[in-house]
């Protein structure tokens, strides 16, 4: 048996030495529609697909691409909080519902707030590296439109420390990132930051219009930047953000297969249709503590460094990035934490057009969380599916050019206020 070179030793220095002991690939991605306001099919008072419907749709589509359920060794379901949104737990037992062929196969459910999907992928990767599986079906799902947003805010606040809920804002996480935006404006000036946030919003919606499963696919607003400049209304929302600065409430599922080289062969999938996972960063920050610096995403910085180091590349080699733009200010700060700009200069990087789809490094090419949607538990998987699509030329109208000398993608999936982070580096095969 090969020696495991993946290790979690006690010192942080050793953590960053994590290496892939064997090749790991992603294949056969699939996204359902991100359902919610903005989609024609959505009506808050009419019946809609339930949790199990999204699970089945995403799962069946991946299975059909990998030769069926018999080829699957293990399953991972990533879901943040269906026990409250949908009064449903024990989600791993939904795998046999997708296909009877998955009956009696091992499965696990993982949770890490909005980084749940990323953790699902990490769990699948570990199974491949641990050689308990050659093919792992990883599926992220969340159905959030079961309650009004005012109650959804209560549910999502579980991604923070529960003892902070009482003094927190009614819209808990918009409140957290509004505070960060306020601190950012105070430190680096408001005007340019707001311009960058508006451009981010425009890019997100324009990218979403190219992706039929995106929640904002049918958005027809002409002057998106003017809309993005809508003044915040603290009487009904938060101090420094408007609703266009925020990702929407979404229902949806994304799924993908994490496979070894043996798994690729078993499924009959050529490497042309796969991407290789070459870097993994995962880290936690103390949930009970406030950020050390409100204008810096320190955990994001850490995981990206880890992932890039493990991959052996630098950010200049990236062809595309999927970042966790739950709020436009989070996107600005992610651009900085990833390393494309120093603190306070993220707005310049965005305003120069570098993150646009025709820019130096296109970000969130199907709209990201703001444009495509944010079904929380599915988001990390959706990011992986998007990069898999881009690197394998399967992104349809949303396809960007992948330079031959930069065949890499990066995803950053964040849970809570920079608490649970997963970053992955992908390589075109």
């Amino acid at each position: 048996m090969n020696q495991l070179t993946i290790s979690f030793s006690k010192t942080p220095e050793n953590n960053s030495d994590m290496q892939m002991r064997k090749k790991v690939f992603l294949v056969a991605g699939y996204n359902t529609i991100s359902m919610g306001t903005g989609r024609k099919e959505f009506h808050p008072r009419k019946p809609r697909p339930g949790l199990e419907d999204y699970i089945k749709e995403a799962g069946e589509n991946v299975l059909s691409q990998i030769g069926g359920a018999d080829n699957v060794d293990e399953c991972v379901i990533a879901n943040f909080i269906s026990s409250r949104y949908n009064k449903q737990a024990n989600l791993a037992a939904f795998f046999p519902y997708i296909d009877p062929g998955l009956t009696y196969k091992p499965a696990v459910r993982v949770e890490g707030a909005c980084a749940t999907g990323g953790l699902g992928l990490v769990t699948g990767i570990k199974s491949i590296l641990a050689e308990t599986a050659q093919v792992v079906l990883v599926l992220g799902v969340e159905v959030q439109n079961s309650v009004k947003a005012v109650y959804g805010a209560d549910i999502l606040s579980a991604a923070g420390w529960y003892k902070e809920r009482k003094k927190g804002h009614a819209h808990f996480f918009p409140g957290k990132f509004s505070d960060r935006a306020g601190a950012y404006f105070a430190s680096y000036g408001k005007e340019k930051a707001r311009q960058a946030m508006a451009m981010w919003y425009r890019n997100a919606i324009e990218n979403a219009r190219l992706c039929p499963t995106a929640q904002e696919f049918e958005n027809k607003v002409e002057d998106l930047e003017s809309l993005a400049f809508t003044p915040p209304n603290p009487n009904v929302f938060v101090d420094h953000l408007n609703v266009y600065d925020c990702s929407k409430v979404s229902d949806g599922a994304s799924a993908i297969a994490v496979v070894s080289e043996e798994g690729l062969q078993r499924c009959g999938i050529s490497k042309q249709d796969a991407v290789e996972l070459i870097g993994v960063g995962q880290a936690e920050y103390d949930l009970t503590k406030a950020p050390e610096n409100p204008v810096w995403l320190s955990t994001t910085e850490q995981v990206v460094k880890k992932a890039l180091k493990m991959a052996g590349i630098n950010i200049q080699q990236l062809a595309t990035v999927e970042c966790h733009d739950c709020f436009t200010i989070a996107a600005v700060m992610a651009v900085e934490a990833i390393g494309f700009a120093t603190t306070g200069r993220g707005p310049d990087f965005i305003l120069q057009g570098n993150t646009a789809r025709d820019g130096k490094v296109p970000f969130n090419t199907t709209g990201g969380l703001i444009g495509w949607g944010h079904p929380t538990g599915a988001t990390g998987v959706h990011q992986a599916v998007t990069i898999w699509e881009q690197l394998t030329q399967k992104a349809g109208a949303a396809q960007i050019k992948i330079p031959r000398d930069r065949p890499y993608g990066l995803s950053v999936n964040m849970g809570g206020d920079d608490k649970t982070l997963v970053s992955l580096v992908y390589k075109k095969c």
């Binding site: 005012v150 109650y151 209560d154 606040s157 009482k166 009614a170």
Partner: protein, 446 residues
Amino acid sequence: MKYEDKLTNVTVMGAAGKMGSGILYLTATEMARQKFLPANKNRHFVLYALDTSHEALSGLLSYIRTQAWRFAEKNIVSLRKVYSDRTDLIDNEDIIRQYAHDVLSFIRPVTRIESAFESHVIFEAVSENPDLKIQLMSTINKNNKNLPWFFTNTSAIPISTLDEQANLDGRIMGVHFYNPPAVQKLIEVVKTENTRPELSYFVNDFIKNVGKTYVWAYDVAGFIGNGYFMRDILFAEQLVKNLQEQEEFSYAESLYMINKISQDFLIRPMGIFQLVDYVGIDVVQFIMSVMNPHITKENIHSQLIDSHLNNGIKGGQFATGKQRDGFFKYEEGNLKAVFDPGKKRYLDISEFSETCDEHLGNLPSKWLPWKKMIRHPEKNDLLRMYFNQLKELKNPGARIAWQYVQKFKEIGSNLVKEKVALRFDDVNAVLIHGFHHAYGPVNDYF
């Protein structure tokens, strides 16, 4: 006595009705607002919901709870601050539930008028029957040592008539809410020469605190809202007759076309006869009968309304809010048939709508549906261009519509000339905010 002292004991008469329940809800929310103020922490507020029977009151608390719940959902940001010292209320849902509970806690559903004998303020929202209103207010006034203030929701009866006949000695004002009071922003306020000034101060604070706006109207039967609405109905009835007599259309065809012109060509939220159905044909007849004795120059009476009521066709809404059949038969909110009083049955609109629509002709090219028009950022310019086109367009629909808007303008102007409204702006405010029209009758569009 201070505003908040007057508010400590209030009765809403006719509390189970559509208007009364809305006024009850607004009063309960205002009591909650006052109760949250530190100075009022130990003050007790009581709100009697008075109506004729417990059956009538049975659904009331559920309605108030729903409304308070919705209010709390929309105002959760400020309510979290209000309940910040309640360590047991953590989630938004905890706070919303508590707010609904607190609003309900003021309300005492009662059927005996004696409850009102200890109130400082009486909101009156019983049916539009002068004798009933006078009898109830007079009884309370005789038995209540607090010299209560009366605020009547009448939309038609002169306030001075109620004041004199109930011996209220100037302790009455008209506070006419629009339907439904919980939602509609506008209130018409009416005082008489005899009204005590302190009532105006109270009403000003109350209306402002419950998030509404108001316009003053003179004490003339029907005030601004019904002064316009009843005349609009009568003109529409005349147009129906014209189409029947001059162009030989059937009654059902004529009514369908005038309703369509008033909705589509005039860019209103609904056609005039659909609006009568919404208000209730019986209610409209009652308002006309109350207004008519006070209006000397015109006959505020509709044969068309009478003919429907004689056939038992009343319109109005079911308790669920669903529209009852009236001039029209409704299916899922859509107009399906027109009632013909001569034939005593409904005639299917689909049998003649195509011919009628073709006869009316096209709408001007600048036309937008009402909802889009009211939200359009350049609404004023668009309306100006639209009415210019309407004037030039010579098809029958445009021709009648142009006649209609000229009458609309005349009615609006006369309300000021006849000293029903103080200003043209007030007439426009009632039409725009009370009736949700895209424009008022006094403008430079036509």
